[in-house]
């Protein structure tokens, strides 16, 4: 009885506190009642889970054809990577995800974390690229799917952050030339869309290189993404630097710290802490922007999905299910990042609880 009263009180307070909130609640419930059964019906009840094209055809889109994922998951997840060798990208992906999760959940102390990254990244490249330890060489143009998406996003974040800090500091430098150069870089890169940076990296760069030199296309594209991400990130960080009160500088100098020591121990930690949410914003958008590399023949998740479905007579019409599948992967990645950002903010004491309701 007591329980029931408590529930009742909770309902009253949170869902039916006044006429407006009551109406909203009812409208939302009605919306859900109207929409959910059809969704559940499509997603689960009428859905086909077996990789059976005839069964999917028979359902004729009245139910989802998850069989397309069951049939095509290897091409979707690993793209053009040779079929027989696909345990390697699988292992590499698991390895990279484990290190990322280990960093995000802070399962390791600082030193072992650094060691884990230093071991994991070369291991990732050796597994993917082969040519060592008896692994067949696989050119980076054949890498694809999830490992490629993860590689591009992780490397972009790892390398863009230090670069962005340098550029942000450069824009505050007293040397006009350095300041001007940093500003020029930021304005140039921010002034064009990522897709044109990728086109430059992929098509123009080989033409302007001296005859006989080639740089791996993946490396070129990765460099393009890093430069692009760093330009945006540096502005975020510059905002953080400006938010640190000038008194902090003076106090640090008064303590006898040199300029760099003050920057390293007093200013930067406060500046970076202040901009965690917007840095995470950049991280999330870079993670999703990696899907643009399809335009330069690198087939990451979205690219490998269309590679898997576009030319297949039996499965082509079920790309909605395919997109939902990779959408789930992207969502998991982005949601994990925002959870990580919250724990970071909580750790710095910056996360304030939402203002309690006055009712």
């Amino acid at each position: 009885m007591n329980q029931l009263n408590a529930t009742h009180a909770w309902l009253r307070r949170n869902l039916f506190s006044d006429a407006f909130s009551g109406t909203t609640t009812l409208l939302l419930l009605a919306g859900a009642a109207w929409w959910l059964p059809g969704l559940i019906d499509w997603m689960l009840l009428q859905a086909v889970f077996k990789p059976d094209a005839a069964a999917c055809q028979a359902v004729n889109h009245a139910g989802a054809c998850w069989g397309v994922v069951a049939e095509k998951y290897r091409v979707i997840l690993f793209g053009r990577y040779p079929h027989a060798e696909q345990w390697r990208p699988l292992l590499a992906t698991v390895l990279l995800l484990a290190v990322i999760a280990g960093s995000g959940l802070r399962l390791l102390n600082r030193r072992s974390l650094a060691a884990a990254w230093i071991l994991a990244l070369p291991a990732f490249f050796i597994l993917m690229g082969g040519g060592r330890f008896g692994l067949t060489p696989v050119g980076s143009d054949l890498w694809g799917g999830l490992p490629l998406t993860l590689l591009l996003a992780t490397t972009a974040m790892l390398m863009a952050l230090p670069l962005a800090i340098l550029v942000a500091l450069g824009r505050q430098s007293g040397l006009p030339l350095l300041r001007g150069l940093c500003q020029l870089y930021v304005e140039l890169v921010r002034g064009v869309p990522l897709i044109s940076v990728l086109f430059l990296a992929s098509f123009l760069f080989p033409i302007i290189l001296p005859q006989g030199f080639t740089i791996d296309v993946l490396l070129r594209v990765q460099a393009g993404i890093v430069l692009f991400a760093a330009a945006y990130l540096s502005e975020t960080i510059r905002g953080g630097l400006q938010a640190v009160p000038g008194g902090q500088h003076d106090a640090a100098t008064a303590l006898g710290l040199s300029r760099w020591q003050a920057m390293r121990w007093i200013i930067l930690p406060q500046a970076l802490r202040a901009v965690i949410p917007s840095m995470m914003n950049s991280a999330v958008s870079i993670f999703k922007d990696t899907s643009l590399v399809t335009v330069v023949s690198l087939y990451e998740l979205t690219g490998s999905l269309s590679l898997a479905l576009a030319g297949d007579a039996e499965w082509r019409s079920y790309y909605l299910e395919g997109y939902l599948f990779i959408g789930l992967i992207y969502w998991t990645g982005c949601y994990s990042m925002s959870r990580f950002s919250r724990t970071l903010e909580a750790g710095t004491g910056l996360l304030r609880p939402p203002v309690p309701s006055t009712a």
Binding site: L307, A308, R316
Partner: protein, 344 residues
Amino acid sequence: MRFPNIARTWPAAATLLLLLQFAPAHAGKTLDQVRQRAQLVCGVSTGVIGFSSADSQGRWNGLDVDVCRAIAAAVLNDPAKVKYVPLNAQQRFTALQSGEVDLLSRNTTWTLTRDASLGLHFTAVTYYDGQGFLVPKKLKVTSARQLKNAEICVQSGTTTEKNLSDWFKAQGIKIKPVVFEKFEASIKAFFSGRCQAYTTDASALAFIRSKEAPRPEDYLVLPELISKEPLGPVVRRGDDEWFAIVKWVIFALIEAEEYGITQANVDQMKAGTDPAIQRLLGSAEDSGKLLGLERDWAARAVKAVGNYGEMFQRNVGSASPLKLPRGLNALWNKGGLMYAPPVR
């Protein structure tokens, strides 16, 4: 503020230099390069049913893919020694010009602009296509000329888009093209009623109607073909030997059909008495030497993919989901346009 010491930065510069792998400058000899790496790099589509597509195991198949396999068989004696590079419509020519691929076999229409201004050579026609229209029956339209003021869904970056505006301009009819970058988006838009008509190559229309339409019986393919779309493989300019090889492998496949040489009987035919067949298959004169290939180049190609007719039936014809009639693609002596210069 101090500037970093040059001596401390040079390792970084050295690392950068290490990343620049040294590769021989464009040798101009595609054949030598292909032989040296024991692999043909073939640009294909990112997925066009019947022409080039990857299956669930990542294996490529289709008419365009078979052309690559035949050339690999003729040059390297192994149809499997091909690396397929999927290219979209916009990047395909750049990939060929920059040397990323040896050959572009990607249902590409042979036009004057492309042949004359892009630094490429079209080799031969492997499929004669034409552009058509798909409309809902409820529009009660029986000819493309009735599509006045209609919104027509079309995919960008191909000759399809230009043909559409050209043809209606010539007819003096106003239409509104609705352009999509992706195939899926364009047909989804059409079937959800965004446009009154959908246009693309006829080879794809019948299949789109039967497989993608919610109710195929509600849609109709109009009788007009508004363009000529001769599709064929493309090579870079400046390498005449390679140009000749690609061209003549295709001619050999067509000629094999004319002589009745099939994948199954090619070995028996070698031993036959017809001089033309013996010449083609290399059991009499050495026709391969003229191309810089081995004697049995044509026999290898036929053994790998069959003759042109077999390629057609398997990928786009009666034995395939597309079920296209031979039509213009029948041999010249059977009412079609497929005519190969003699191998002699």
